[in-house]
């Protein structure tokens, strides 16, 4: 497939598209392949998945500025919405599909480990601030708390610019 063929096909698509750039020799691609297949079934009729082999279609990969695989790019209305590079968890890929389906881009979702670690640190710091009456620790506790939940806040989601 040439770059222009890819662009034409993309613009003709009436559904959001996730482009999965992979290669047969890429181990992380083999790991994420089944996850993409499962999500493709879950989002059938709402989001299309196109798999692009970077070995056989290097022109498309170059046109998309792909520097590492696997790369997952969400397109909506022919325009790139967001992309993820490298092996991803199912929840992150699911988030990518949701973003493509809704057209709303959100910041990367925190992992459970990050959320628990930051929230626990915020609680410990808050307790320490209360015990010692130190304002600076209240501020640090608040920052730690925000860093643990920022991806859940409405401000972390934005619609793509026109």
């Amino acid at each position: 497939m040439t770059e222009s063929e890819f662009r034409d096909r993309l613009e003709a698509s009436d559904r959001p598209v996730i482009v999965d750039l992979w290669a047969p020799w890429c181990a992380p691609c083999r790991t994420t392949g089944p996850l993409i297949d499962a999500l493709q079934r879950d989002f059938a009729g709402r989001v299309d998945v196109w798999k692009v082999n970077t070995d056989t279609d290097p022109e498309v990969a170059a046109a998309l500025g792909v520097r590492g695989i696997p790369t997952f790019i969400a397109f909506r209305g022919g325009r790139e919405l967001t992309r993820m590079v490298g092996a991803q968890t199912r929840s992150r890929l699911s988030s990518l599909f949701e973003q493509a389906a809704s057209g709303r881009v959100s910041l990367a979702r925190l992992s459970t480990q990050d959320r628990v670690l930051r929230s626990a640190a915020a609680a410990a710091l808050g307790l320490m601030a209360w015990q010692t009456g130190t304002d600076v620790l209240y501020v640090v506790a608040l920052l730690a708390l925000v860093s643990g939940v920022y991806d859940l806040l409405p401000l972390s989601r934005r619609s793509p610019s026109a």
């Binding site: 992380p28 590079v85 490298g86 092996a87 990367a108 480990q113 990050d114 670690l117 930051r118 626990a120 640190a121 410990a124 710091l125 320490m128 015990q131 010692t132 130190t134 620790l137 640090v140 730690a144 860093s147």
Partner: protein, 68 residues
Amino acid sequence: MQFINEAGWDRIARVIAGIVLLYLGWAGVVTGTVGTVFKFLGFLPLVTGLVGWCPAYSVFGIRTTKVQ
């Protein structure tokens, strides 16, 4: 995420170490110059643990987490 260079155990250890140092400093358990050092030094492991990225690791090419 790509920039993270600390494993989970590393991050937890840093956060605990940071909180302990801050407590010792700010609660007045340790006083004097050492206490003052603890008050501010504690932020270093705390922040690097919460973020998951250690600048010193980057400088020396160390990672305790697996490359993604």
